[in-house]
Assembly symmetry: D2
Homo-oligomer: 227 residues x 4
Amino acid sequence: MVNIELPVIAINFKTYTQATGEKAVILARLCEKVAKEYGVSIVVAPQIPDLYRVVNAVDIPVFSQHMDAGEPGRFTGHVLGETLVENGVVGTLLNHSENRMQLADIEASVSKANSLGLYTIVCTNNPPVSVAAASVNPSAVAVEPPELIGSGISVSQSQPEIISGTVDMIRAVNKEVVILCGAGIGTGTDVEAAIKLGSQGVLLASAVAKSDKPEDVLKSLIEPIRK
Amino acid sequence: MVNIELPVIAINFKTYTQATGEKAVILARLCEKVAKEYGVSIVVAPQIPDLYRVVNAVDIPVFSQHMDAGEPGRFTGHVLGETLVENGVVGTLLNHSENRMQLADIEASVSKANSLGLYTIVCTNNPPVSVAAASVNPSAVAVEPPELIGSGISVSQSQPEIISGTVDMIRAVNKEVVILCGAGIGTGTDVEAAIKLGSQGVLLASAVAKSDKPEDVLKSLIEPIRK
Amino acid sequence: MVNIELPVIAINFKTYTQATGEKAVILARLCEKVAKEYGVSIVVAPQIPDLYRVVNAVDIPVFSQHMDAGEPGRFTGHVLGETLVENGVVGTLLNHSENRMQLADIEASVSKANSLGLYTIVCTNNPPVSVAAASVNPSAVAVEPPELIGSGISVSQSQPEIISGTVDMIRAVNKEVVILCGAGIGTGTDVEAAIKLGSQGVLLASAVAKSDKPEDVLKSLIEPIRK
Amino acid sequence: MVNIELPVIAINFKTYTQATGEKAVILARLCEKVAKEYGVSIVVAPQIPDLYRVVNAVDIPVFSQHMDAGEPGRFTGHVLGETLVENGVVGTLLNHSENRMQLADIEASVSKANSLGLYTIVCTNNPPVSVAAASVNPSAVAVEPPELIGSGISVSQSQPEIISGTVDMIRAVNKEVVILCGAGIGTGTDVEAAIKLGSQGVLLASAVAKSDKPEDVLKSLIEPIRK
């Protein structure tokens, strides 16, 4: 499995027009440039049809935004782990609030990803769900209160108890799983607050993907963790 | 919350014709008779449209087969906890293999049920998913390998490691949650094996609901636990 | 199949607290009283766990808010047509905007309902979807722009072209299916406008179910169609 | 919108290992070779992560296996029409039996695809569902009885009435939409039978994608329509 250095900034491109097709490549290259220039760990998650072109354009970890649980064969339109691997993808988000999964499918997808060496970040909405997600042995859990996603109000500053509660509840039973957080993260101050609360990185989307000046936003975000 | 005495036999009526409408009432009365005659704990889970008539006919705990996560208001066709309570229902199955739920909805439903005093049995398919389900604080978890459901091949005799693995993994982190098992349970020997493996009861359907002689089946099932 | 006299006022109780449990019975009795007193056709759609008690309390048509497509047997938690019939229910809403269904399941449910003699009202969101719904041979189609549902802004006054467009497109290929409309309907004026546009009745919820004075609202609604 | 010459052979790569990643490119090139050598119309539908590499490798129409209904923005993991267009994809399957969609989403996806110039093939399971699908104005409808998919028993020879019934019911109300069929199609005789019944092409998967000798299978399939 790919080694993701911590703390990590994970950028979800969602389906933003500014991060689609060739623009996904340009944005991923910008993330790569900042990652290398400042010695920080950045991963990108472009849309699924854009994965191959982004993988071939950059040398930072490229994640899928989703993966299904099925086996090769009769699963028209599903996103299989094997196919992600064939296209150079090294990990995947699972259960994003815009793409919630059944519990049994989260477990099956994580289990499949583990067997294929794919890094998994399971998104969750609160501390108990985070503990449940951690139970199925993913690489990481990312807690994101859905009401703050895309809001510009950061979870780390407005609802710090969501992060500290998740960290406390998971660490009581699981010392290994990486803990991330997200929702409304847009500045270095947000990142710093998240890390002080025990988060090992952040997951974010709109602040970078929708920005007119994504390089400035990226530089702000990585300020507290640059070397 | 209703006290469910352990070990418990939970009978899921599914949508079997032999357990629908007035026949649901007759079957529930039979379960009540056996429960009282032999001093065993039996709960019944009829179809949702049959709940009210069954509740009004018997004096054993009546469960719903499903409950949704929403709040009162704009949820046409959803099954709300408040409405179950209004109809005298005391608990619910959640996430049955024929009705899988998203992780976030399982947690929201359990949380809602807890606040309403409804007993919850979250169905799962393997030990890691069982631990995940236990994390969201339900009353009980019932592990049921889907491939054995309705098969007549009992989980407790053919895949004992599913039950013992679930018990071991859950008890490592949670001493409280009730642990049940199901799939293919049809005889007292199956029940006895389940209980020896650490299960605190069984969940079953076809062996009783489809039987021509449900009373004989019930008497066989409760043999190892009767007083 | 039950004969539903046209024009019809269909009242969806949704999951409003004011229309749950014994309050569902009280509201249904009020609908019955107004229906009989003024000679108008009113049908009620309470929550599924409340169906049996409402059916046994009133002598107007009682509909389910949803029905699934499966056959009797292994469908834990599903709402089967056979079970609705056993409980005296005479029809069902399908595909409400709060409970959208797959196309193949809408067709299977309608086909099953037709074979059981259950009246079906398939909810839709625009004229082309209404024509598609009409193609699978339901009793009725009810077009409801989702953005107006519960808004208090009536479709018949604010978006009359949705109703007239639906009527025109359906009647070009289907002379039989009943055409209803809904969303924001709350007064007799709204009903009158709907009927002038070619609708054969209305489907509504909050204006009655959430009202402090539901009898007054009902009397207003039926004013243009009373005898 | 791309012009798809009729009759057309559409090859769904599903998630077969033999049609994944670089093997998807090889199979697509083989389809292209046969299409050009024999003057027949072949389209390919590889997995979504493979689309970009296949588009860049061949000069025949490349379709997605699925497309979601959302707009650009907050739809993590969804497959947007805009993103398909950016990657050179010219059409999409919708509502495949392994990926059924809600009726409202089928209509929204078709409407979106039409506005983007993407060719749509909506899969259906029987004649009434086919008429419903045709009502929302897709480029094509492909009727496929699910129980025959991957069976090796061709719909055109074993259930010809499904095809002729679909053709009759659709043509009674719609002269424009292309009508295809699928399920179990594996030989030229199957294709010939389908076309005689009024189908304007076939949709198939396993016969080609799982074959050790896909070129031989392709040549058999196109025999009745080659120039």
